[in-house]
């Protein structure tokens, strides 16, 4: 849509051009006076409808996404000043909060309690007297015959090897692995089972039921 040129404005422009041409020749004050006169002579007209609205709308600030504002806020440099002594109450409150949270945390266990699975196991102490051994491990059906993690420790006169374990109820087969290669049955166990490989495994009965806890 082309706007019709206002003749007065056109006239003003022409005058202005003329003034430009003569600015070097005439006195500056005189030019200004001439311009002033021209402006005074301009007809007093109403502004076109909607002009104010269009100007205001063009002046409205653009909406910026939230993350951009946050980003700009984060980039803006700041200066922080603090007095250490004034931080003490805040630190105290924070420590108190942490202590309470730790006390009632769901993962925290009562020191006297035990994992239910562990609690259902029964402690068993294995001993072997084998003076010449360099190392002794306990292998059995309860640890898939894997000596790793079931190394026995020497006590007393260093001839006796001991290991304490927690085992589930039932019947277990076991043997001692001396120096990582020799399979030795438990001489203190009256029961045994042939392992088919030429050795004997000892048989152990574990029961929580006190009368049968033999």
């Amino acid at each position: 849509m082309s706007r019709k040129k206002d003749p007065s404005v056109q006239h003003l422009r022409d005058s202005s051009a003329k003034l430009d041409n003569t600015v070097c020749e005439k006195d500056e004050n005189q030019d200004l006076l001439a311009l002033k006169r021209l402006i005074y002579r301009m007809p007093d007209r109403e502004a076109p409808a909607g002009l104010a609205q269009s100007i205001l709308s063009s002046l409205e600030p653009k909406t910026v996404p939230g993350w951009v504002r946050i980003y700009r806020w984060a980039l803006r440099p700041r200066t922080v000043t603090f007095q250490p002594l004034k931080l003490v109450p805040a630190a105290m409150v924070l420590l108190l909060g942490l202590a309470i949270a730790f006390q009632f945390a769901p993962w925290r266990k009562d020191p006297g309690s035990m994992d239910p699975r562990q609690a259902s196991l029964i402690p068993v102490t294995f001993t072997l007297s084998y003076p010449k051994a360099e190392s002794v491990s306990l292998i059995g059906s309860f640890n898939q015959w894997n000596p790793a993690g079931h190394r026995m420790r020497q006590i007393g006169d260093l001839n006796t090897w001991v290991l304490e374990l927690r085992l589930p109820e039932g019947r277990h087969e076991y043997a001692f692995l001396v120096d990582g290669k020799m399979v030795v049955p438990d001489q203190s166990s009256p029961f045994y089972q042939s392992d088919g490989f030429g050795n004997r495994n000892s048989v152990l009965f574990v029961s929580r039921d006190e009368p049968a806890n033999i």
Binding site: I122, F126, W145, N146, S189, D195, R208, A212, N213
Partner: protein, 261 residues
């Protein structure tokens, strides 16, 4: 002339292609015997966990491919015979932990499989089509490792009163254990048959052999032990009563590894 050149070129190209194709086929990595045996075992229904466990064991003990294939094939056989793989895996683990040569392990596994077949056959004769649980079958086979001959176990199973396989499995286990502590064979059979006949040889009697071993150490005569056990079993009294009749406390009976202390 041109035609001949064209023909020779064609033959040369075809020959080149054939040689190239054969070289390509040879260069492809062939499926290893282990992979093939694992695939077959998987198709036969062997659980993935069992196969993984076996392969981990093989890696841990640095078994050669031939040995791994042998074990995988064996496990597959056990699966196809609808037996529990657990005891056999246990035996493999045990053999490897004890550094037994793989050939010996394989022989022992085959022997064990044969024991399972034997006991299952005997049980079929006794119970017909009654379902046999893996656990009961394993316990009965275990009694063979406890020192009972096959014939003796078969005779015991066939002569035993009652049809409760769980109690029968317990009885065969006790039979082997009492033999180890040299308890009178006849009295053993009488005790066990009393329990089976009265359907009273329940789980608490799993510890009978330990009580008998301790009673014998305290020089209580076999017939006195047998009488106390039979009376308790006939009256279906708790195992504790039997122990009390012999005058035992748990502390008296502790022997071997210290349990519960």
């Amino acid at each position: 002339m041109n035609r001949q050149i064209f023909r020779n070129s064609f033959i040369l190209i075809v020959a080149t292609l054939l040689v190239g194709a054969s070289l390509y086929v040879q260069a492809q990595p062939a499926e290893t015997s282990v992979t093939a045996s694992v695939r077959e075992a998987r198709q036969a229904g062997v659980a993935e966990t069992v196969l993984n466990q076996l392969l981990i064991l093989a890696a841990d003990h640095r078994l050669e491919d031939e040995g791994v294939v042998r074990l995988v094939n064996f496990v597959q056989t056990v699966q196809t015979e609808d037996l529990s793989i657990g005891p056999f895996m246990g035996k493999i683990e045990e053999g490897l932990a004890k550094q037994i040569p793989l050939n010996t392990i394989a022989t022992v596994l085959a022997q064990k499989l044969d024991d399972y077949r034997f006991v299952r056959k005997v049980l079929r004769r006794k119970t017909g089509e009654q379902e046999i649980s893996h656990q009961d079958l394993s316990r009965m086979v275990g009694s063979l490792d406890g020192g009972i001959a096959r014939e003796e176990l078969a005779r015991f199973i066939l002569q035993a009163p009652g049809q409760n396989l769980s109690m029968l499995a317990r009885a065969s286990e006790i039979l082997a254990l009492l033999k180890q502590v040299r308890f009178n064979d006849t009295l053993t059979q009488e005790i066990l048959f009393t329990g089976l006949g009265n359907d009273s040889l329940n789980q608490s009697w799993d510890y009978l052999a330990r009580v008998v071993a301790t009673a014998k150490r305290r020089q209580i005569p076999d017939d006195e032990i047998a009488r106390a056990a039979q009376e308790a079993l006939e009256a279906k009294r708790p195992f504790k009563d039997f122990m009390a009749t012999l005058g035992f406390t748990p502390r008296d009976l502790r022997h071997g590894p210290a349990v519960g202390r």
